[in-house]
Symmetry: C2
Subunit: 208 residues, 2 copies
DNA sequence: GGGGTGGCAGGACATTTGTCACGGTTGGTT
DNA sequence: AACCAACCGTGACAAATGTCCTGCCACCCC
């Protein structure tokens, strides 16, 4: 597969869930052409750690404290262009895949299917291939881009945890009327009946 | 640690997320006193698989399709009393721990902390010990039992995905007024301001 | 210049939601 | 028997929510 004395692939691993993180690090370490040179648990630790460890491939979870793996991917592209980025996530949301590609990711894996896929994906990413689940790619194309404007997305995101109109208006420095209008627009565009359904729909599509 | 020719510990693994499942199976298989004799991906496959494979320890995720790992644990206690149950979950919700104990579980692990804990927990469970994170135990005690009645919980659960009062009343065959009253009671008991916050609070405590 | 889109806000209105007070039934305790 | 808790329902009311309309400004594109 690889030449016996090929240089090892240096991997950065970003994953907040402890058991998953250490399991992946252990398993990847078993591959003799892969070395995990850094592991981080927060999104905002990705770039500093990458600048220090100079990995060939960064394996990033999306949902992490600090900042999203998607944001980290975009920043990595600018700060460490030679590093390939693989997104590894629980949820195969169409919008996530879209954003991952826009952030310059080399691949998009869901935390399903066997671990063997992982090492294979890392090698393929380093070879310059794009690694994407075909079914997911189809879903992302059919779902289309987010219909929400930035403000609508912001307001909807602020509403998910049960905040009232006046809470949101204070948090975003908008008038209550404006918040109403944005929420109404988001409800209309998502084809739902209230903010809760709208937020669920947006989240399901990765628009949030 | 164990006698060289001690019988291996037979483990059943129930976990729906593919990568986590295969990673855990692989890592546990590396321990020479542990053998993974069955893996399932759904809650309702736990008992049949256990009856066929006769494991010494069952390692159960909570959030699974089919049925909850907590329900599976309760059923296992009746159908295969010799089998120790370890609950392994993402969320250290106080109510989950409480319910796990009531279902006769031998231990409760969160998917944080290193994988090494796992093998140790399995050995300790088999030795008859209870394996519980002390911090979590304290939280479970201080949080107290759920203040919600069965109906309040049902109505709240039916409301989380954006259903309206009339949706819920149809689904549960109740009058709209009754649904209102239960929701209001749940909001009051959780000390929140609306159904969304109430549902979040209940979910956070594992009351849902 | 004109046209389109997005951000922002206000007003008016119907609907939904949350609260409260009340009455009734059932089942279990003391 | 008296009591309590949970269950189920009604009616009335205030507050929050969602919709629609209007208007203004800035920006970009043709």
């Amino acid at each position: 597969m690889t030449a016996p004395d090929a240089p090892v692939i240096r991997v950065l691993l970003a994953e907040d869930q402890g058991m998953m993180r250490s399991a992946l690090a252990l398993l990847l370490g078993l591959e003799d052409d892969i070395e995990v040179v850094a592991t981080v648990t927060r999104g905002d630790e990705v770039v500093p750690a990458a600048l220090a460890a100079r990995p060939d491939v960064a394996l990033l979870d999306i949902e992490m404290p600090g900042s999203s793996g998607l944001d980290a991917a975009a920043e990595l592209r600018d700060r460490l262009p030679g590093c390939r980025v693989l997104i590894l996530t629980t949820f195969g949301r169409p919008g996530y895949l879209r954003r991952a590609m826009e952030a310059g990711a080399a691949g998009f894996l869901v935390k399903d299917g066997p671990v063997e896929e992982l090492a294979a994906a890392i090698r393929r990413a380093l070879a310059g291939e794009k690694v994407i689940d075909p079914a997911l790619a189809a879903a992302a194309l059919s779902a289309g881009a987010s219909p929400l404007t930035d403000r609508e997305r912001e307001v909807l995101a602020a509403a998910v945890d049960g905040a009232t109109i006046s809470d949101i208006s204070r948090r975003l420095h908008l008038s209550e009327s404006t918040v109403r209008n944005y929420l109404s627009a988001a409800i209309g565009k998502t084809g739902t009946r209230n903010r809760i359904e709208a937020a669920r729909a947006a989240r399901h599509n990765g628009w949030l």
